[in-house]
């Protein structure tokens, strides 16, 4: 019985479509004053809400690497849960694909948990800091859908945490599913769910190309 190498088993997972590598995403935003209503709605719609909603407080750092022969730099986002002993998450996001026929935005996505040396590692590889922010908010789930209601907080360089202040007076609401290739019904499932949040928050596929380089 020969042992297969890690690379072989990884490509096997890719070929057999059980490696989740596509992110289906819908985004929207809601004012601070109305977020309470949204939370109530989500509590009613989502799974296991008998407990209070899960909170999170993460620091996201986006690193970029300018590569020769390409215009687009390679961007990797490293996220760290503040005040929690959890591994860092490195995330690669591909170019979003806003297909009119699909109900959601679809982009390729790779999630990789790493030890905390990752930022140092990337710096040594030649990556440079692009931007960083703190995301703080609530998480819900409904089946395989993940719903985050988060407040983005800007980091004032060189100051303590106290100096950080919210970017805007609203929360960003994201509905996402990471699934293997070829599961087209995901989008429909998400559209139906987004429909149920309708009057409160309008979840849409947001075309980043039109917005310019906003995170």
């Amino acid at each position: 019985m020969a042992i297969s190498s890690a690379r072989e088993s990884l490509s096997h997972a890719l070929n057999n479509r059980f490696l989740p590598n596509l992110e289906y995403l819908l985004q929207g935003s809601i004012l601070d004053s109305a977020v309470e209503h949204l939370m109530h709605r989500l509590k009613g719609l989502c799974d296991n809400v008998d407990t209070s909603p899960e909170t999170f407080h993460d620091l996201e750092v986006c690193m970029s690497l300018r590569q020769p022969n390409t215009n687009q730099p390679l961007m990797l986002r490293v996220r760290r849960a503040l005040g929690r002993d959890a591994p860092f998450q490195m995330r690669y996001l591909g170019q979003p694909e806003v297909d009119q026929r699909r109900p959601t935005l679809v982009r390729s996505c790779m999630d990789c948990a790493c030890t905390n040396g990752i930022l140092d590692f990337l710096t040594e590889m030649g990556f440079r800091l692009e931007f960083e922010y703190i995301a703080k908010g609530y998480m819900f789930r409904k089946g395989r859908m993940k719903i985050t209601v988060s407040k983005l907080i800007k980091i004032v360089p060189g100051k303590q945490d106290m100096a950080n202040e919210p970017i805007s007076q609203s929360y960003i609401v994201e509905l996402s599913v990471v699934a293997p290739t070829g599961q087209e019904n995901v989008g429909e499932e998400m559209r139906v769910f987004a429909e149920q949040l309708k009057p409160l928050v309008q979840l849409e596929k947001i075309d980043y190309k039109r917005l310019g380089n906003i995170p």
């Binding site: 890690a6 390679l74 990797l76 030890t115 040396g117």
Partner: protein, 242 residues
């Protein structure tokens, strides 16, 4: 997880690698060890495309079948600084996203593969090292599971190496564990690695050290043939021995 020591097996003249492995395996079995599966440690090195002003960087990506969910990587920035990282397997796919900057040196892909034996609290692995399908040598990995600090169990491991495998091992700690001097933000510091808590990354670093030696060996041979590029010479940085 315990403490692991990696020891190259000196190749006697006129004996093939397969013979040595077979011989050692038989010896272990007759001494009471049990055969417990296979193992594989592989290493692939990515070299940054040379850009003016920056030294050539090398990223070594290693896998150990003992930790099937992890990918180990060590970056060597060319100036002696090394950063180690343990990540999910998906890291391999991320490396492929950087092919414009970091290219894989296929001809230096090296692996150690072989049988795994268990004897009480010891795990012994007899690996035959191959690079590009060419046999390079035999690496013996020996792990003592109940302990996590080398200094407490080195004598036992040494006895095992000498008694079971008849490898002549000195009393002093293996070179990887000997005191290292490293430069960091706190200035020059002495590390006594044999007293540290052993981590899976240490196994990987020992393998990389040995693999680098095998590669260097090849380069020295090929250097005589005059076909070596300067790139590899940069990456062959010793594992920080004094």
């Amino acid at each position: 997880m315990g403490v692991t020591v990696l020891q190259p097996y000196p190749m006697p003249e006129g004996k093939s690698g397969a013979y040595i492995i077979d011989h050692l395996g038989k010896r272990l079995l007759s001494l009471g060890a049990t055969h417990a599966g296979q193992f594989l440690v592989d290493c692939e090195t990515f070299i940054s495309t040379p850009q003016h002003g920056t030294p050539t960087r090398a990223v070594h990506v290693l896998h150990n079948s003992e930790c099937p969910a992890s990918t180990f990587s060590i970056i060597d920035n060319g100036t002696g600084k090394q950063v180690a990282l343990v990540a999910d397997n998906i890291f391999d796919l991320l490396m492929l996203k950087m092919t414009n900057t970091f290219t894989s040196k296929k001809q230096t892909k090296i692996e150690s593969r072989g049988a795994r034996f268990e004897y009480g609290d010891f795990v012994i692995k007899l690996g035959s090292v191959t690079m590009m399908e060419h046999f390079k040598g035999v690496l013996v990995e020996i792990e003592y599971k109940p302990c996590i600090t080398l200094s407490y169990c080195w004598e036992m491991i040494r006895e095992m190496l000498q008694g079971f495998l008849s490898i002549n091992v000195g009393k002093e700690y293996p070179s990887y564990f000997t005191t290292q001097t490293i430069m960091n933000a706190m200035g020059q510091q002495q590390l006594h690695k044999q007293n540290d808590i052993y981590e899976p990354m240490d196994t990987i670093k020992q393998y990389l050290e040995q693999f680098t030696n095998y590669r260097k060996h090849v380069q020295m041979h090929s250097a005589m043939g005059g076909t070596v590029g300067p790139v590899m010479m940069n990456t062959v940085v010793g594992m920080g021995r004094p």
